[in-house]
């Protein structure tokens, strides 16, 4: 299980690195989504239990609900991650659209050159 958390933290760190260092808006967007994906992985692995089953009630499981409850993984993080993915799609779409317009106005995607507003 610690493997999951390690990968999640690695993804978050990679995303942070990409946000801080890269000099291209598209790469910054990629960094942002990698970071949020790391958080999603963290959330998902939090609800997992070793050898768990999907939290879907079927007819053979419904007769023994306590057995089901002791084996099923936590469904709440999955719902949270789905919500968060939806939100991140909106942010991604907006960021890409803004990048298109930024390229049109400035002729570049370098964040070091998008600096008409300063001081």
């Amino acid at each position: 299980m610690n493997f999951n958390y390690t990968i999640a933290m690695l993804l978050i760190a990679l995303g942070f690195y990409c946000l801080l260092v890269k000099r291209n808006l598209i790469k910054l967007i990629i960094g942002l989504s990698v970071m949020t994906d790391g958080i999603h992985l963290f959330l998902i692995s939090m609800g997992y239990r070793t050898g768990g089953i999907a939290p879907i009630v079927t007819s053979e499981l419904s007769s023994n609900l306590s057995n089901f409850a002791s084996r099923a993984v936590d469904p709440l993080p999955q719902a949270l991650v789905l919500t968060s993915i939806v939100i991140n799609i909106c942010i991604l779409a907006l960021a890409l659209s803004l990048s298109i317009y930024a390229y049109r106005h400035y002729g570049t995607l370098d964040p070091y050159k998008l600096r008409r507003l300063r001081e």
Partner: protein, 506 residues
């Protein structure tokens, strides 16, 4: 009380926003150009009626709990409305209505007004949801609703500055919301609950110092504080605010400076007590002092009208965070002053941005060096700007003085007179920079180009005058504001009552 008022206050602007494209299509077909304006104004008036309807019950000592889908609190999502929430909700609904009325005048030359109103109403929905919800993940969702629609609104006019400001706010803001999501995830992994009252009840052992605080809770608190501070724009995180407020359409600057400031300060006021309850007073005081000083010093040398106002937003938010921080050190006056300053600041900063917008609307310029002598052409705008400028600098008969004075007293009460001294100095510097703004824009020689400038349209003057009246009224009768702020402060402090009423209630 109207039944289901808590959820309707969120649902009404939300579905008004979703229906707005349809209204836009219909208005195009039937040539009713003003249909979108009136639909948005009607939705906002409905919202303010719903919120005002809830207020007496909450001030009577109840905490309204609304179970979404009928699931009771620790399991389902619930809305919990105490005195603090109702102050914020009243401010969002009231100022939001005035901003929408103003934008009916200000945006009359723009196309795609249906999209503009849809996004504005969505932003207001997000703000309303943040202050009314009792679930921490729901808070994150509403925060994202507000943030994404404000990113889009800042870049609404799609000129180069707006796009650049939108991109900067998008990256910094979504970094902040990601930190909040991370914090919520850690909190869930540690406690196993998302309900704020339930979290508060389960973390109470660490609050009382019975057990040492585990590392994951400290990391979660640090992430949450950082995320909230990015939205409040305290100093190391303030960079997006000046750009965004400069380049956005002025109604959006007013919306984010008035109601938008509310949501951040709401969480700053909530944070020391719920859900963590760990001491954050020193962070709040130091960040508040830093932002006050840096904001006002940056504002002193600006050439741009709206940019100067934006740096003053940072500086004045510093006052509020400072006051709330003093409140955690045991000074009730400090916390009341912080919340009162939020009420006053949102009113007059909205008004000042609207004055800047009126000047921009009539002259097409927001640079100090291109304006001048407009006092003769725009007397009403000049008068409202003067009232706002005197209020923000803390000149006695106006509302800004009352709240600043209480924060000064709070500083002395908490045993930190040096804080009071810095706050007074910052207030003086604020007066200096507004003196410059007033003399550059409304006094002095008028250039040839501005000779024919007219007064702003009546639809824009009405909200400005309303806010000026509120400023003077609260200044002369501070009890009006205290009746709202007093219950808010006591509700924020009394976390045990919140927990018992939400978990055990209804």
């Amino acid at each position: 009380m109207i039944p289901h008022a808590p959820i309707l206050a969120i649902v009404l602007p939300l579905f008004a926003a979703f229906l707005m494209p349809l209204v836009g299509l219909l208005s195009k077909r039937y040539n009713a150009a003003k249909a979108c304006d009136w639909f948005a104004i009607a939705a906002m008036i409905g919202t303010i009626l719903l919120v005002a309807d809830m207020a007496p019950t909450v001030w009577g000592g109840h905490i309204l709990t609304y179970k979404l889908g009928g699931w009771s609190p620790p399991w389902g999502i619930n809305l919990a409305i105490d005195g603090l929430s109702i102050q914020m909700a009243l401010m969002i609904a009231g100022l939001g209505t005035l901003v929408i009325i103003y934008s009916a005048g200000y945006m009359q030359r723009d196309t795609r007004k249906d999209l503009f109103y849809a996004l504005t109403l969505l932003a207001i929905t997000g703000m309303m949801g943040i202050v009314l919800t009792g679930d921490i993940f729901n808070f994150y969702v509403f925060l994202e609703i507000m943030s994404v629609s404000s990113y889009a609104l800042i870049a609404f006019r799609r000129d180069s500055n707006a796009i650049e400001a939108g991109i900067k706010y998008l990256f910094i803001g979504s970094l902040g919301t990601s930190l909040i999501l991370m914090s919520v995830a850690m909190l869930y992994s540690f406690v196993g609950s998302l309900n704020i009252a339930d979290l508060g009840a389960k973390l109470a052992t660490y609050r009382e110092g019975a057990q040492p605080v585990p590392a994951i809770l400290i990391a979660s608190l640090a992430l949450f504080v950082t995320g909230v501070m990015i939205k409040v724009a305290m100093v190391p995180f303030h960079a997006w605010l000046a750009d965004a407020f400069t380049a956005a359409p002025t109604t959006i600057s007013a919306l984010l400076a008035g109601p938008g400031a509310v949501v951040g300060i709401y969480w700053v006021a909530r944070l020391p007590y719920l859900p963590f309850g760990l001491p954050v007073g020193i962070i709040l005081i130091s960040l508040g002092l830093l932002s006050m000083v840096v904001g006002v010093l940056m504002a002193l040398t600006q050439h741009d009208f709206k940019r100067m106002l934006a740096y003053h937003v940072i500086s004045q938010k510093g006052y509020m965070v400072l006051g709330i921080g003093l409140g955690t050190l045991g000074s009730v006056l400090g916390a009341q002053g912080g919340l009162f300053h939020l009420l006053n600041h949102s009113t007059y900063k909205c008004m000042l941005f609207m004055c800047a917008g009126a000047v921009l609307f009539r002259t097409g310029s927001q640079k100090f060096d291109e304006l001048g002598g407009l006092g003769k052409n725009m007397p009403v705008t000049a008068l409202t700007f003067l009232i706002g400028a005197l209020a923000i600098s803390g000149i006695p008969p106006l509302n800004g003085f009352v709240s600043k004075y209480i924060i000064y007293l709070g500083g002395v009460e908490a045993g930190l007179p040096i804080v009071t001294a810095i706050a007074v100095l910052v207030s003086a510097l604020t007066f200096a920079s507004f003196f410059k703004a007033f003399s550059s824009v409304f006094l002095g020689q008028r250039s040839e180009r501005l000779r024919e400038t007219q007064e702003a349209p009546k639809l824009m003057l009405f909200p400005m005058l309303m806010m000026a009246v509120i400023c003077v009224a609260i200044g002369l009768l501070p009890a009006l504001g205290f009746n709202i702020v007093g219950p808010a402060q006591s509700a924020a402090e009394n976390s045990a009552r919140y927990i018992s009423q939400v978990i055990g209630g209804i």
